[in-house]
């Protein structure tokens, strides 16, 4: 599904260069649940963003679902993200002007799915994360845990090939975190490929494989 070879990412700030990823090799298969761990600044989020085509690498190779990321245009990457990927961000990344239902329906509408069908699919997705009663609420009227569940509903409503999650529980209390993790577990059991960055050991244990990053390199791979 995803194959990465010698991935390098360097950030430039004037003359100064910071090498965040220093040659990472990685491969994942369909239906796998991979957790990426590491201390702050280890490069785990950067790794996730590159792998999910949200950012461009400085060097190396990313083959995702048979597509070479370096050969894809910006438009192609956007379309790939729309059709094949789902994203859950640490800060939920919901659109404040859209209701929960509209937030979830938007990517479906962009895929040219009819309005009625898109809204039905979005509603179904929100019911799955137990937010059937919050369809018409704006994000500002939802709790952090609820917002994150809307974010997950949006990420999976179109049944993506890969679900990318960047510290999805970092801003949540224990109860909400547990609810989110439970959803991830159910999704994985249903065959969803998930790649999740987390710094919490207890949630990483749910993954089939845990990758530890340090100083821009994979230092260990642990199978659960």
């Amino acid at each position: 599904m995803i194959e990465i070879k010698n991935l390098v990412k360097t950030f430039k700030d004037g003359e100064a260069e910071t090498k965040v990823l220093k040659g990472i090799d990685f491969k994942t298969e369909d239906g796998e649940f991979v957790a990426i761990m590491g201390r702050s600044g280890a490069g785990k989020s950067t790794f996730l963003y590159l792998m999910s085509l949200l950012d461009d690498s400085t060097g190396g190779e990313i083959i995702i679902d048979g597509n070479d990321a370096h050969k894809m245009t910006t438009e192609e990457k956007t379309l790939f993200r729309l059709e094949k990927c789902g994203y859950v961000f640490q800060d939920y990344a919901l659109l404040p002007d859209l209701t929960a239902l509209e937030n979830v329906a938007l990517p479906l509408l962009m895929q040219n799915i009819g309005r009625k069908k898109a809204y039905a699919q979005a509603k179904e997705s929100l019911i799955k994360v137990k937010l059937g009663h919050r369809l018409d609420n704006l994000p500002s009227h939802l709790s952090g845990g609820e917002q994150q569940r809307v974010s997950i509903a949006r990420a999976v409503a179109h049944k993506p090939k890969i679900l990318f999650a960047d510290e999805p529980t970092a801003n949540l209390d224990n109860e909400s975190s547990a609810a989110v993790v439970e959803i991830f577990k159910e999704l994985h059991q249903a065959g969803q490929t998930i790649i999740m960055v987390t710094h919490e050991e207890q949630y990483a244990k749910m993954a089939g494989r845990v990758i530890h990053l340090d100083d821009g390199k994979i230092v260990s791979v642990q199978k659960n």
Binding site: Y49, T74, L79, L82, Y87, F89, D97, L106, M110
Partner: protein, 416 residues
């Protein structure tokens, strides 16, 4: 490409952004657009209105809709009674006023003047009229500011334009004016060496300065002064029924052969050259001011959309991140610009046509040479709305594109 799908998603986003935006912010933006619209329409409209007021004054108080006057090398229109008959037979003609016009002098205080005193004389055009016909064409009685208008039975009475009198025209360096003359005072008319003592019956004031420098008498008495008994007049001002194109009547008169003995001009053709020049100059000024207004509108909307987009950069990043096409996002800002421009224009249109135009008609701006009104022809206003929308679309698109083009992840994370 702005595909149908991108436009649909753009519209979806725009509607929700507008719907859930702060009412105050939306109101303020629309208010700015209203002011911009008014700047576009009203400023040039008033400029044109000043000229239009002058054109209207010439038309309603002097030339009528069509004016028939003597040929350049003739003192009067030959066979005038026949020409008047032709004019009156046309169904489009509502009224016609035949005028005798001749230069002469007016003298006041001649009884009390000592030999060493300077004579109190003003040079003028003296016009002989049928007061009823003239009033039907030029509504002259409404312009009387002192005394009364002429009646058909008046004998040796005269009405004077205000510019002939010193007390009504203080700027008398250019023209000699009559001192101590008011209704009831006797003055002496001198035309072609023939003198006649007449009583000032009234004083009138017109926005057409040429008219305000004229003196009017009953036609039969004026004919006796100038010794013309053939009924040949100097000019005939024609008022047409409402909605009739003056050109139509002008052409009908030409077909009747009137052009062989007289010049036939529509009110537009009879406009003085200075007025035509003023129209051109004001139109140019209006265009300049409109262009500045348009530039201000474009810059305003650019700033509004730029600030809107820059403060929403993170959300633009999120949209791109979850796979929303950049063109759809750009379209959403274009739709917002269109919304602001259309709302501003709609409020502006209501203000212009329901408030300002009727207000200026009821209370024209009192310019020395015109009653300034607000001229806002619908077709030109619609064109300006189109221009405003077009410029705001461009001004909205550019900043949206600038922000959408930024790196997706940098936008999401708020990195520069």
């Amino acid at each position: 490409m702005f595909s149908a799908l991108n436009l649909r998603i753009g519209f979806f986003l725009a509607v929700r952004q507008i719907k859930r935006a702060s009412l105050w912010t939306t109101g303020l933006i629309i208010f700015v657009m209203v002011l911009t619209f008014l700047n576009l329409v009203v400023v040039s409209g008033v400029l044109v209105g000043i000229v239009q007021g002058s054109i209207d004054s010439h038309r309603t108080q002097d030339t009528g809709d069509v004016i028939v006057s003597s040929l350049d090398d003739k003192k009067y229109i030959e066979n005038s009674p026949e020409v008047i008959g032709i004019i009156k037979s046309l169904p489009q003609v509502k009224d016609a006023s035949a005028r005798y016009r001749l230069g002469g002098t007016l003298e006041a205080n001649y009884k009390t003047r000592k030999d060493t005193d300077k004579p109190n004389i003003a040079v003028t055009q003296i016009i002989g009229i049928d007061p009823v016909a003239e009033n039907n064409v030029s509504n002259m009685s409404k312009n009387i500011i002192k005394g009364e208008y002429l009646l058909p039975d008046d004998y040796d009475q005269i009405v004077l334009g205000s510019l002939l009198l010193e007390e009504d025209f203080s700027f008398n360096a250019l023209f000699a004016t009559l001192k101590n003359v008011s209704p009831g005072v006797k003055i002496r008319v001198n035309v072609n060496g023939v003198q006649r003592e007449v009583t000032v019956k009234g004083v009138f004031e017109s926005k057409v300065q040429d008219i305000s420098r004229n003196a009017y008498m009953i036609d039969s008495q004026f004919r006796s002064i100038i010794g013309r008994n053939d009924g040949n007049v100097s000019e005939i001002a024609i008022k047409l029924n409402q909605g009739i194109d003056p050109k139509e009547v002008s052409e009908a008169l030409v077909l009747s052969g009137v052009d062989e003995v007289a010049k036939i001009k529509t009110y537009y053709e009879a406009q003085p050259q200075f007025l035509k020049d003023v129209i051109k100059t004001f139109a140019m000024l209006g265009s300049m001011l409109s262009s500045i207004g348009l530039a201000v509108a474009s810059i305003t909307i650019f700033i509004v959309i730029f600030i809107n987009a820059i403060t929403r950069r993170k959300f633009i990043g999120i949209l791109k991140g979850i796979g929303i096409n950049g063109k759809a996002i750009e379209a959403s800002y274009v739709f917002q610009s269109i919304f602001y421009a259309l709302c501003g224009s709609a409020v502006g249109l209501v203000l212009v046509y329901a408030v300002l135009v009727p207000f200026f008609i009821a209370h024209p701006i009192d310019f020395p040479f015109s009653d300034g009104i607000l001229v806002a022809p619908v077709n030109q206003t619609i064109f300006r709305v189109g221009l405003l929308v077009l410029s705001t679309v461009i001004a909205g698109y550019i900043p949206a594109r600038m922000i959408v083009r930024k790196n997706t992840l940098d936008s999401i994370l708020g990195r520069n």
